[in-house]
Symmetry: C2
Subunit: 401 residues, 2 copies
């Protein structure tokens, strides 16, 4: 039995970076480019006005004030997309709109709200502008050649805007992992079937499909494999055509837990089996060629926790993410908690902010069969291996779901 952190390390070492695909800019959302993305140009691409108003040579208005206003002549207009062709010289101003190219000779913008337009072509200035005011300089946001999106970072909505501004209409991103999900167990029937005595509907695989989608993968639900070696063999062979195969159930010490044996028979190299974690101890991890194989425990809570702690980071790494671990937060525990098994526990919790502090409490039953606790939870509380007794008010780390 190995520790959670060693297990995760082994999983990540074995997770291969997937190949690259050329996709449209909008399709790149949430995906990771295979290389640093460099700005192809300065942004903004030219000096432009950040206000509606007048482009002036600030030297012209050095002594302008409410007491001694100065009146200048409007010689033209520069609007967004329609630049003024001439030059601003002494005694002159150009009407400018937000986003418009700054006319030559002008070094400041006075907003329209700050002037008096006396006649059609004359404007009275009541204050002296600072050189550069209300101008967005070429390259002040991003310089040509600068990295706008580091390799390993996903394309966010905000990044889409910068990539669009640089003219990237297509991007090379890592392809999505195809993840086969194979539920195993004689007790399982499909969700449209009526279970007979002692049977239950297959449910963990649906949670897994959701989690896979959330981690950027493409889930594929294989049919239920009953607990016979031949049927398992058939299901596993089908699943080994994907990038990742997730099995649920069949990894404990029961008489019909054949998953480990059949995987080994088929040449899957078992990297570890059993982790010092609760829930989720029976977790099995192996590899066949480039395919990652996870034997997840069958109880839906154990399935979910082991997916989030081991499979999700692997999928993110395969997709090209650099940070594959969720951000953790420190929260104050709202009740006592104790354990004595030396395992790392993941409790389903509800975290709320009260008086500037994050507080967390467990969602009722922590039985690995109690899926309702996972539905209610907005976070997982991480209780380390060496923690035994925790008191109300102690700090715990949490991961939001």
């Amino acid at each position: 039995m190995i520790n959670t952190s060693s297990a995760l390390k082994i999983v990540l070492e074995n997770a291969p970076l997937l190949g690259v695909k050329n996709v449209s800019l909008l399709d790149s959302l949430g995906r990771v480019p295979s290389h640093d993305i460099i700005a192809s140009q300065d942004l903004p691409p030219f000096n432009n006005s950040s206000m509606d108003g007048f482009a002036v040579a600030s030297s012209n208005l050095r002594r302008a004030s409410a007491k001694h206003p100065r009146t200048l002549k409007v010689i033209g207009e520069s609007s967004a997309g329609r630049a003024f062709a001439g030059k601003v010289t002494s005694g002159q101003v150009v009407r400018v709109m937000t986003g418009a190219l700054m006319p030559r000779g002008a070094d400041a913008v006075v907003p329209i709200e700050k002037v008096v337009e006396c006649e059609t072509e004359r404007v009275r200035f009541l204050e002296s502008p600072k050189p550069g005011q209300h101008i967005r300089s070429r390259g002040e946001d991003i310089r040509r050649g600068q990295i706008v999106l580091k390799s390993g970072m996903p394309v966010t909505s905000a990044a889409l805007a910068v990539l669009a501004a640089c003219g990237y209409s297509r991007l090379r991103v890592r392809r999505k992992p195809r993840v086969s999900i194979l539920p195993t167990g004689n007790e399982l029937v499909g969700i449209t079937e009526k279970p007979k005595r002692g049977q239950i509907r297959c449910s963990s695989s649906y949670a897994l499909a959701g989690y896979v989608e959330g981690a950027g993968g493409i889930p594929k639900l294989l049919g239920i494999a009953p607990d016979t070696k031949s049927r398992l063999r058939k299901g596993i062979k089908a699943g080994l055509g994907s990038d990742v195969l997730l099995l649920t159930g069949g990894v404990s010490v029961g008489k019909y837990d054949f998953v480990g044996e059949v995987l080994a028979d088929l040449g899957v190299e078992i990297k570890f089996w059993k982790v010092n974690i609760k829930p989720g101890k029976p977790l099995l991890f192996g590899k066949w060629r480039k395919v990652l194989v996870f034997g997840l425990p069958g109880n839906p809570v154990s399935t979910s926790v082991t997916f989030l702690q081991f499979v999700r980071p692997a999928l993110l790494k395969m997709c090209g993410w650099q940070d594959v671990q969720p951000m953790t937060f420190s929260a104050l525990l709202d009740h006592d908690f104790s354990k004595s098994d030396g395992k790392r526990h993941y409790l389903r919790g509800v975290a709320v902010q009260r008086k500037g502090e994050l507080r967390v409490s467990a969602t009722g039953s922590q039985s690995s069969g109690a899926m309702s606790s996972m539905v209610k939870a907005n976070c997982l509380m991480i209780i380390p291996e060496d923690a035994a007794t925790l008191h109300k008010g102690d700090r715990v780390e949490i991961e939001f779901l």
Copy 2:
């Protein structure tokens, strides 16, 4: 000019709940059912073993101990999906596997690791089990008739498992809002074009498309509308066929800012125009029949902030969400900040956890043209209207992006 909170209230009051669609269970992920979902049965559906081991009548083993072990006869097996048909009586036990139906007459499970299997059909017990131990009782997780997913809550991956267990293969969920995005401005060219002098590529609309997807909507990019009333009219008419129309640009006080005028001409009822917020002051909101119309400022940061503060909550409400506002966290400001305009500011920030405390600092330039600040940010800091001077170490509220 109205306050941010009043503006949001008006937006939400005007956002209609969308109609209902019947989708497959997997397609319901992230979407909101139109009604409470009730458990169709008890979960678990029957008393079952939570361990691999032996089902016993605890009364039979009341005095068993390491010193005085008791040996009982194995009369059969109950495995998951294959129930034992008989009854456990005095002196007998039944081999059980995790998930198996508990045999009649048995009221506890002794794990396989705790017994000695002497011969094929006899098992020695070294301790006295507690009645009910290692049994998951019928309905202990969820009772038939109980609400498993409240109306207004989205279907999460965890919820998929419970819904599958109840046999819900299809769900009635709110349909996704269709959101048209109409970028306006003479300066804009498409992302595949090479901008001429004074022109820039259309970029805000791509960020918007990403945000719309993230909020559960279906984005549709309309072509760029130049700043002429006739072209705007045409673009807006096309957009009014959607559930929501987002315009970017053309809502300031510039000479070519025709958006408000053209909207009014087309019969859009303007609910507000200008909000006490920075960035994003020129925001316009109106309604035409059931269609929400947002005139968002053209600078990509302003576009993004106003989307997140006003459009996203509206889309979530239309999709059926009850909680349409993001969770906020309290963080320690890592630097001084001051403002004097009485507006509510949204600063782009990076929040990190250090020594159990969340700390946040602004990402460089807060100019509304500086989209790189939005790309770097992982949160928005909310600086209230009445805050003027904030010091390093003061608490601020943040929303993660």
